[in-house]
């Protein structure tokens, strides 16, 4: 029954209304955003300011601490001339009294047109999208282990910029797949855009129980997994993975799965190295690689602003197109 329900992130014309996850989206949904993001750079590669969202109020509601994602969203919103409100809501504060629902409804009553939400629970973005009023949009900035679609889109943008097309590429994602919302969204983006092969590399303790359900090839051996790939995406290893008996030590993890210049030689000569940040030097990636010529890590950050601008611009323009189409 639940499966036949209309995808809540799409409107009746199957256009993006919220962005909660990439699962269920078509290639054109993604390329529309990526193509638009390109137009935000001027001839010198500088980001332009485009007043597309003048008069719109966007609230960045972060239930989980974040510096970089929130900052890039804020910059993106300001480049679009939106009015920006930042709220860092510690989980303890909501537990004290007000329910999540009430928090959201109150913010909505203050005139939000879009919520950019980060929350520690998988499915939180879906929850908020079900609660908001018609005409208010939800953009998932990371929910639990579930999804981080804007990160995956900026990664696709970066890959496209350096490699031309996603199609026909072999991509390896290395590290803690199990707990990573970034990895889940990247895998979905890559398969929607037709990547030739998606590999995940790491020990079984950091893999979901059914990786085949994600459509990936699993490698426990880093050298074999990197063989002949075009793109290497390293994931951040959270410190708490040591205490949960999932790994013996950071040292052993780095020895087995850390990306070094030597390991990178297995990949194609023109392979690029990516990381959603913040990086743990010497834990998942060697400084020589992170700062080396094949690293596009800082480029990802810049692209993140353009891609987030594009996501918001697409959602608001879809909403604006509505009445005219209904009339015709």
């Amino acid at each position: 029954m639940a499966l036949v329900e209309r995808d809540i992130q799409l409107d009746e014309h199957k256009r993006l209304k919220h962005l909660l996850t990439l699962e269920g989206l078509k290639a054109h949904h993604l390329t529309e955003i990526l193509d638009l993001a390109e137009t935000f750079f001027d001839a010198n590669g500088e980001l332009r300011k485009v007043p597309l969202l003048r008069g719109k109020t966007i609230m960045n509601v972060f239930f989980e601490p974040s510096t970089r994602t929130r900052t890039t969203f804020e910059i993106a919103e300001k480049r679009l001339s939106a009015d920006v409100v930042n709220l860092n809501i510690a989980t303890s504060a909501t537990k004290k009294g007000e329910s999540l629902q009430d928090t959201l409804w109150n913010l909505q009553a203050m005139g939000a047109d879009m919520f950019v939400i980060r929350h520690a629970d998988s499915g939180a973005a879906h929850f908020f999208a079900r609660q908001v009023a018609e005409g208010v949009h939800v953009l998932n900035a990371g929910d639990g282990r579930h999804a981080h679609p804007s990160q995956a889109l900026l990664d696709m943008f970066t890959i496209r910029k350096h490699k031309g097309d996603i199609y026909d590429l072999k991509v390896a994602i290395v590290g803690d797949i199990l707990h990573s919302r970034v990895a889940r969204s990247q895998i979905q983006a890559l398969s929607i855009l037709g990547a030739r092969e998606i590999r995940v590399i790491g020990p079984r303790t950091l893999m979901p129980s059914c990786p085949e359900a994600l459509g990936v090839h699993v490698y426990h051996d880093m050298d074999a997994g990197l063989e002949d790939v075009d793109v290497v995406i390293m994931l951040r290893l959270q410190n708490e993975r040591m205490s949960g008996a999932r790994l013996p030590s950071e040292k052993e993890f780095f020895r087995l799965y850390g990306l070094t210049e030597q390991r990178l030689e297995r990949a194609k000569p023109d392979a690029i190295v990516m990381h959603p940040g913040p990086i743990n030097r010497g834990v998942e990636i060697d400084s020589a690689v992170a700062d080396g010529p094949r690293s596009v890590i800082l480029d990802q950050v810049t692209n993140g602003i353009a891609v987030r601008m594009a996501i918001m611009a697409v959602i608001f323009s879809n909403a604006a197109r509505h009445p005219q189409e209904d009339a015709s």
């Binding site: 929350h119 998988s122 979901p208």
Partner: protein, 427 residues
């Protein structure tokens, strides 16, 4: 007061009996089932032509919300909802607030049940104090206070020595035990079956081994101690196989399944609807199939509602934070009869798992139309079409994932110990 119900299809799984006839009730007892004695002079006669007459259902697992802390439901509201679902006997797990680890709680529940007078309510005592899994609760005192069995509800005992002691102590007081097999550490923070769907959605998983490891431990301890244990809420194919093997070895073990596990699976979680959050979790369609087959071949004895009425607030949360549970007493019978419609079970077999089988597990006389027994039964109109609508549910908890499901056949009137407690014959 003498009542005669004529022309009903009398379905009595305890006696494998399915015939058209009359039921005669005097006071709170059934005096005849089949042919009405010539000298029976009723005060009231009901013509039940076209209706089925079924013994009141026995539900091994139904929470009533009382005593509770900001919980949905009271003994009165939930037993009335139960009566509307044809249930006249139900067992209340000990995870009330406060926990049923002292005689005051079961005494309160029984007193409220007597005041409401809708159903026979059997409290289950806590096996350990505060359900902490560490110190034994006063089982003998709980038994004296009317507890039919002892259980840990959804909170497993971590320490194996404590578990073994609990089994031994309960056995020495002939206190039946009910366990939901769940390894505390493997289940930990999980909220969904650790399978394809949880992998895709990034939901913290509960592997099947959380159930099977705990079940294996229980089965060997039962064999060693001779304790009588009823296993509640099986969810996986592997667990059904383990029950089968244990029985072959001669271990006396009974078991049940919650009715929603026969109809829902992990696939229902795809859009994070908190109404589908239950504990233990919904597993794969293959597990669902194995549970149905387990019923068919009588490896699984009984079907429960695992009724858990919740406030809307407790479900208006992101999936992992939403409280697990389904308000189920009003859909138990119809969901079970779906298995008759699709040919998995015969009608008498399905009814047996809702009546005499759970009564036998509890060691009580209930769930039959045999003369001499308590007159707790209900009339069912097999032609009445209805749709599950949360707004019209009698339970204080409207937390059902079955909203919009359409059923053929509905309970139209229920009697508890000779007294009419529910009637929608003319509604």
């Amino acid at each position: 007061m003498k009542l005669r119900i004529d022309n009903a299809r009398l379905l009595d799984p305890a006696r494998q009996s399915d015939r058209i006839g009359s039921l005669c009730v005097q006071g709170n007892r059934i005096v005849a089932c089949g042919e009405a004695p010539d000298d029976f002079t009723p005060d009231e006669v009901i013509d039940a032509d076209g209706l089925w007459l079924i013994p009141g259902l026995v539900d091994l697992q139904a929470r009533l919300g009382e005593p509770g802390d900001r919980s949905a439901g009271t003994v009165a509201s939930e037993t009335r909802a139960a009566a509307a679902g044809g249930i006249t006997t139900l067992c209340v797990p000990p995870d009330t607030v406060p926990v049923a680890d002292n005689p005051a709680v079961p005494e309160l529940i029984r007193r409220r049940a007597r005041q409401a007078g809708n159903a026979f309510v059997l409290p289950i005592g806590a096996l350990t104090q505060g359900l902490d899994g560490e110190r034994l609760a006063p089982l003998n005192a709980l038994k004296q206070a009317g507890c039919i069995a002892a259980s840990q509800a959804n909170r497993p005992i971590r320490n194996t020595q404590t578990l073994r002691n609990a089994l031994e102590y309960a056995a020495s007081h002939a206190m039946p035990l009910i366990f939901k097999p769940m390894d505390a550490d493997l289940a930990a923070d999980g909220v969904a079956h650790d399978g394809a769907v949880a992998s895709r959605l990034g939901l913290p998983g509960i592997p099947t081994s959380a159930e099977t490891a705990a079940l294996a431990q229980l089965l060997v301890l039962m064999e060693e101690t001779g304790a009588r244990v009823h296993i509640s809420g099986l969810t996986s194919r592997r667990a059904v196989e383990m029950i089968e093997r244990a029985r072959t070895r001669g271990v006396q073990v009974s078991c049940d399944v919650a009715v929603h596990h026969l109809h829902l699976s992990e696939n229902d979680l795809m859009d994070f609807n908190p109404l589908f959050r239950v504990h233990p979790p919904l597993r794969t369609p293959d597990d669902q199939q194995a549970l149905r087959q387990g019923l068919k071949f009588d490896l699984i004895d009984a079907i429960t509602s695992d009724h858990t009425p919740l406030n809307a607030d407790d479900k208006a949360l992101p999936f992992p934070q939403a409280k697990p549970g389904i308000s189920g007493v009003e859909t138990l019978l119809n969901l079970t009869l779906r298995l008759v419609e699709d040919g998995t079970l015969t009608l008498l077999q399905a009814l047996r798992k809702l009546t005499v089988a759970p009564a036998e597990i509890l060691g009580i006389e209930a769930g039959t139309l045999a003369p001499g027994g308590r007159a707790s039964f209900f009339l069912f109109d097999p032609d009445r079409h209805w749709t599950v609508t949360p707004e019209t549910m009698l339970s204080a908890g409207r937390n059902t994932p079955f909203a919009g499901w359409e059923f053929e056949g509905q309970v139209v009137a229920t009697w508890f110990q000779g007294k009419p407690v529910f009637n929608r014959l003319n509604g």
